[in-house]
C-alpha cells in the first residue's frame, strides 16, 4: 500500500527537524566517558533532567545513598541524570526513586552487594494504578524486554550504581558471571488476574508502590498438567530446595506465580500464608543429599561436615515468615509457568509508596 502524498510530505518534514548525526555523536560521547552499560544512552541535558526533577518534591542535592567503603554518594539529581540516560520518561522518575529507596532498605546494598561475585540483580515489582498509567508490562513476557517502563526503570538503577557509585565490571564490580537479566528485572504485578491482595498491600502499602530485593537466581517451574495444588507446590518445593545456589545456613526465596498457578492454588483454598507454610515445610534437602554436593555442614557457610544424621531434612527457608518468601503474581494466563527467584541475601519484607507525580 502506498502512502498518500500529503502524509509522506508531513513525515519527511518532521524527520528533517531531527538531527540523527548530532544524536549519534552525542551517544558516542557518552560511550567514551565510560558511562554506558553497553547500550546507547540518551544524552542528558539540563532541560531534560529538570523535567525529571519537576515530577518529585525532593531537593536535587538530597543524598539518597552512600557507600562507606567508597565514600561515594547518590543524590536525587544524579538519580535523575541516570534515569534520563537510561531512557526513562520523566513520569517514571517517582518509580525510580521509590525503587532506589526500597533497595536501600536491603542490608546488602549498603555493604558489598553491588560488588559481589554473585552478580545479583534487583527484582523490582510495581503495584497500583500507575502500572497502567505508565504502561508497565504485567502480563506476557514480564521478565523480558519489549516495554519501555519495565526496561528503563531497571536500567536506571544499574546506571546509578555504575555511575554514581563508580562500580564498574572487572574493577570494583566482581561478578563471576552475573545473573542473566541483571538490571532489567522490573515487573508490574498482574493484580487484575491475581486471586490475592497486591504484594505491596500485603506489606501494608496500598496503591502505587514498589517492592524490591536482590536476586541470585531466576529459574522457572513449568507445570501445566496437574490440578493438584500439592503436586504443584511439590514441584516448587523441589526447585526452592535444590542445593545449587545455597551457600549459607538458610536461604530466602520468592515465587512470581503466573495467573494460572496462582488461581489454581487459591481455588484449592490456599492463601499466600498457606503457600508459604507449605513451601517452608517441604523445601530443602536431606543431609545425605547435601553431603553429596559437599554442603551438609551449615555452621557458617555450607561445606562438608559429616556431623548430622544422613536422613535429617534441612529446610531451605529459615521460617514461614513473609520476608523469607516473597509471593507475587505476573505473566500471561496462557500456561502454567512461574518463576522461582532466590534472594541474594535477606529481604526487608517491605514496600515503598510511590508519591503521585507532581507535574507529569
Amino acid at each position: 500500500m502506498t502512502t498518500a502524498p500529503q502524509e509522506s510530505a508531513r513525515e519527511s518534514a518532521q524527520e528533517s527537524a531531527l538531527d540523527p548525526d548530532a544524536a549519534q555523536a552525542a551517544i558516542e560521547h557518552c560511550y567514551e566517558q565510560g558511562w554506558s552499560d553497553g547500550l546507547p544512552l540518551v544524552p542528558a541535558t539540563r532541560p531534560l533532567v529538570d523535567r525529571f526533577l519537576a515530577t518529585v518534591e525532593r531537593a536535587p542535592d538530597e543524598i539518597i545513598g552512600h557507600l562507606p567503603q567508597l565514600d561515594r554518594s547518590v543524590t536525587v539529581e544524579l538519580a535523575a541524570i541516570n534515569a534520563a540516560m537510561a531512557g526513562c520518561l520523566p513520569a517514571y522518575f517517582p518509580v525510580v526513586l521509590a525503587a532506589w529507596e526500597a533497595l536501600s532498605r536491603e542490608r546488602v546494598t549498603g555493604g558489598g552487594g553491588w560488588q559481589s561475585t554473585s552478580g545479583p540483580s534487583p527484582l523490582i515489582v510495581v503495584n497500583g494504578p500507575i502500572r497502567k498509567e505508565l504502561g508497565f508490562n504485567c502480563a506476557g513476557g514480564v521478565f523480558g524486554p519489549g516495554f519501555r517502563p519495565n526496561m528503563t526503570v531497571a536500567r536506571a538503577i544499574g546506571l546509578i550504581v555504575r555511575n554514581a557509585y563508580g562500580i564498574h565490571p572487572h574493577e570494583l564490580e566482581q561478578a563471576t558471571q552475573g545473573l542473566p537479566g541483571r538490571w532489567q528485572i522490573c515487573l508490574g504485578e498482574n493484580e487484575e488476574e491475581s486471586p490475592w491482595t497486591p504484594l505491596a498491600e500485603e506489606n501494608g502499602v496500598t496503591g502505587n508502590a514498589v517492592t524490591t530485593t536482590l536476586l541470585r537466581t531466576c529459574e522457572y517451574v513449568d507445570n501445566r498438567h496437574t490440578q493438584s495444588a500439592e503436586q504443584l507446590l511439590g514441584d516448587f518445593a523441589d526447585t526452592i530446595g535444590r542445593s545449587g545456589s545455597w551457600i549459607f545456613t538458610h536461604a530466602g526465596a520468592g515465587v512470581v506465580f503466573c495467573p494460572e498457578h496462582a488461581q489454581l492454588l487459591a481455588g484449592a483454598g490456599y492463601s499466600r500464608d498457606d503457600v508459604r507454610q507449605w513451601l517452608w515445610e517441604h523445601s530443602g534437602r536431606t543431609t545425605a543429599q547435601l553431603a553429596a554436593a559437599g554442603k551438609d555442614d551449615d555452621r557458617r557457610v555450607r561445606g562438608p561436615g559429616g556431623v548430622r544424621a544422613p536422613e535429617e531434612f534441612q529446610r531451605t527457608l529459615p521460617s514461614p515468615d513473609p520476608k523469607n518468601l516473597l509471593i507475587a503474581v505476573a505473566g500471561a494466563r496462557n500456561a502454567g509457568i512461574s518463576m522461582v527467584v532466590r534472594f541474594f541475601a535477606d529481604w526487608s519484607g517491605t514496600s515503598v509508596a510511590i508519591p503521585d507525580p507532581k507535574d507529569a
Binding site: T45, Q69, R72, N82, G111, G112
Partner: protein, 186 residues
C-alpha cells in the same frame, strides 16, 4: 550553543580531596619481640590462615605474641579510626585478609592503607583473582602503588592442613612486607 551533556557520576569535585599516602609506616628491622595483630575479614579459612601465620611469626620469627585478634563486622567496609586505634594500642604490626570475594578484597586493601596511615605496618593478603579490584581501591585511597601479599586462588576450598601449608609458604613474604627487609612495602 547546544545544551551540554550532564555528567552522571557527580565525581569531578568529590575525589580531589583524598590525601595521597606519602609512605608506609616506619618498619622494624625484624619481628623479634613484636606484638602481632590479626584482623579476620570473615571469609572462609581466613581466620585459620591468620592464626597459623601468627603462630609461625611467634615460633619462627621471635615475635612476642599474638596480642589482638578481631573479626570484621562487615567484610565490605574498611576499618574505621576506632578499630585502627584499638590495634595501634595493642600491637606493633597487623596481618589481615584473606581477600577472596568482590567487596572484601577491595576493603582489605583499604584496611592495609588505613593501618599504614596510622603508623602501623600491615600485610594484606589477597588471592590472585582480585588484583584489579584491589588496585582500583588502592588508587581511590590515594595509594596507587600500594602492595600486598598475593596468594593463589581459590582459598575457600582448602582443607585445614592445606591452609596451614599456605601460611608457611607465604611467611617470608609477610615478614618482608612487615619489616621492609627484602623488597616489602612499596
Amino acid at each position: 550553543m547546544p545544551n551540554a551533556i550532564l555528567d552522571p557520576t557527580g565525581r569531578v569535585k568529590e575525589e580531589t580531596g583524598k590525601p595521597s599516602l606519602e609512605g608506609l609506616a616506619p618498619r622494624r628491622t625484624d619481628l623479634k619481640g613484636a606484638r602481632i595483630g590479626l584482623l579476620d575479614n570473615t571469609k572462609h579459612n581466613a581466620l585459620l590462615f591468620l592464626q597459623e601465620v601468627g603462630r609461625l611469626l611467634v615460633d619462627e620469627e621471635g615475635a612476642a605474641e599474638v596480642s589482638i585478634v578481631e573479626t570484621k563486622r562487615s567484610f565490605s567496609v574498611p576499618v574505621d579510626e576506632e578499630i585502627v586505634n584499638r590495634y595501634k594500642g595493642s600491637c606493633d604490626v597487623v596481618v589481615t585478609g584473606v581477600g577472596d570475594c568482590g567487596s572484601c578484597s577491595a576493603a582489605a586493601v583499604a584496611d592495609g592503607i588505613n593501618f599504614e596511615r596510622a603508623g602501623l605496618p600491615a600485610a594484606v593478603v589477597l588471592t590472585d583473582a582480585f588484583l584489579v579490584t584491589g588496585r582500583t581501591m588502592a588508587t581511590m585511597q590515594g595509594a596507587p602503588d600500594y602492595e600486598w601479599v598475593v596468594t593463589q586462588h581459590p582459598m575457600a576450598i582448602l582443607e585445614e592442613d592445606q591452609v596451614k601449608a599456605r601460611a608457611k609458604q607465604l611467611l617470608p613474604e609477610i615478614v618482608a612486607m612487615l619489616t621492609g627487609s627484602t623488597g616489602g612495602g612499596r
